[in-house]
Symmetry: C2
Subunit: 346 residues, 2 copies
């Protein structure tokens, strides 16, 4: 049995296809023109047949898809899920759908994903880019076709974007650590271009004292973006004779790896080591110790991106929108007064 079409409905009621279209289209001007009697008859037939309008045909004709594309780098990081979740919820509220794909941290995938969304003719794109700089051609195509894009993370000029602002709050985090007496603070983040978080490096650096900065090179630790890699990096760092009194981890996920490494080395957090991270994912408040972290409001970023994109769709000439979501330092249990000896205090 095949899916019923508009014609089936029209035939059943004894009206033309256009009438059915008018009844079902959200278009109010058109809907007004149909008599109540006809409308109810049509609606009844639609129900009986279980008719659903074909979105492809509809959008092919109307030029609108009511669909937004969303690409995130990878699915391992809960932070990205939150963004997706926020975007999907908001889109559904507003009658849009999200076509979502992940680039799996591969440049090639990212390009493929974008092309796929092109083919499906999305009305607009939300991008959390990793590699897009590598694909100027693609970017050129996006602009050439005037496909509205909003970027998550504000880097490019003249493109709508949304991001949580970490600059001030990162400084605040370091200040918090300083106030607790920490003078040797490491920063753990992902390989460049593989994870977000580069934006937090500069304010971290800026907040350090001159002395600290001198030792800084050895204090910036980079690792691959899995929790296991973070664990290993932290393990190796904390195995040294002298290790920092505090670590700033670029996300809660990494923090979990650090926590575990500390535990395995019999280093107590926060007594022997303070730890502060970014995201405030769900489990941050349930780990032991609970994580002091910077809440990034990822869900808001996701939903905000949808709002910006829809604004842009309504008004092509709107000036560039740059939305900044304030991040917030949440102090829980993973930060405390710095230990005084270089070695951990037993």
């Amino acid at each position: 049995m095949k899916q019923p079409t508009q014609s089936d409905v029209a035939r059943k009621v004894g009206v033309s296809r256009a009438t059915v279209s008018y009844v079902l289209s959200g278009n109010k001007d058109a809907a007004m023109l149909i008599s109540a009697k006809t409308r109810t008859k049509v609606l009844k037939a639609v129900k009986e047949l279980g008719y659903e309008p074909d979105a492809r045909a509809r959008s092919l004709r109307s030029g609108k898809t009511a669909t937004l594309g969303l690409i995130v780098p990878d699915l391992h990081n809960p932070h990205h899920w939150q963004i997706v979740e926020g975007a999907m919820q908001r889109a559904q509220e507003l009658g849009y759908e999200i076509l979502f794909s992940s680039s799996s941290l591969e440049a090639e995938h990212e390009e493929k994903s974008i092309r796929a969304l092109f083919r499906r003719s999305v009305d607009g794109l939300i991008l959390l880019p990793n590699f897009i700089k590598l694909y100027p051609k693609l970017l050129a195509q996006i602009t050439r076709q005037q496909l509205p894009v909003v970027l998550i993370g504000c880097r490019e000029i003249n493109i709508d974007c949304i991001a949580s602002i970490n600059t001030e709050v990162t400084k605040e985090a370091v200040r918090h650590l300083h106030q607790l007496g920490h003078k040797d603070i490491s920063f753990l983040l992902g390989i460049e271009n593989k994870t977000s978080g580069e934006d937090r490096l500069q304010p971290y650096f800026d907040s350090l004292s001159e002395n600290e900065r001198a030792a800084c090179t050895k204090n910036i630790i980079r690792c691959e973006p899995s929790i296991e890699d973070a664990y290993k990096a932290a393990y190796s760092l904390l195995s040294k004779k002298t290790f920092p009194t505090a670590i700033v981890a670029v996300n809660d996920f990494f923090a979990l790896g650090v926590l575990r490494a500390a535990k395995d080395l019999n280093i107590e957090v926060p007594k022997d080591l303070s730890l502060i991270s970014f995201d405030d994912v769900l489990f941050a408040n349930y780990s032991t110790p609970r994580l002091s972290t910077v809440r990034l409001e990822a869900k808001l970023v996701g939903s905000g991106a949808v709002d910006i994109l829809l604004n842009r769709l309504k008004n092509k000439n709107h000036p560039t929108q740059k939305v900044r979501i304030p991040a917030k330092l949440i102090i829980r249990e993973s930060t405390a007064m710095a230990r005084t000896t270089t070695q951990k205090g037993r």
Copy 2:
């Protein structure tokens, strides 16, 4: 500037649209018919113009969409993400796309999501159902249109499905606990119909001794599906004068809540309380203590679902496929010998 169409390419090369179609279609019979010279000319023009075939038009005409629908109940549970990830990866490998949506644990959403996928004319559907029993009409429509469906979790007769088999391994988990001397084992799971895991209840029950079963009613704890709810439920359970020596939690997420509640009540896991859960999500191996858990191979379930669905698409008359992915008990640090006193041992 508008997206270039097939005609633009044809015009540029000086051939007909059909020729362009032949060159680009995966159809080998057709592709063979085109001279190498023409082909390269066409391909060159395609590149120059940045032409991408319109998937809507293509599928409208050909009747195929190369798109699969996937619906999961909610996005909070990492288990579901793993399924999505597995499915997306496999689909991409095989040249299919996944249209993914979440029903946010709401029956109404679930229905809406399915309808939305209908409209987009997916070739098939992968469903992790919560509420579908409530929508016999929808189910009727699915079968009426002969839309291939694969269910995650094997309940319905005569529909393709894939699931991890928990029966034996759940018994094994309880046996493990028994061997450690546990005689008072609670089971923490979600509200019926809101989370998966019902399948683990019966084997748990079956594994209990008669004595244990007598006390069983009070030992089956249900809560809403958030980590906070699990925390509260565990907190209240563990606050009682006599509390179980072991808890089986329906997923690792809940286990985290339990762990935290125990910590807050100064109950040591595993010394005073053993804990075993299901999923083996990423962080299960990084919590303190590391979680003893049943690995559900969620990614395999996701990719397997895609394989089953594509099999079905190739062969409508294939007998019903019921694939079972063996689950595996992973003993880590959250289980140990039962404490001997009813109270926790200090």
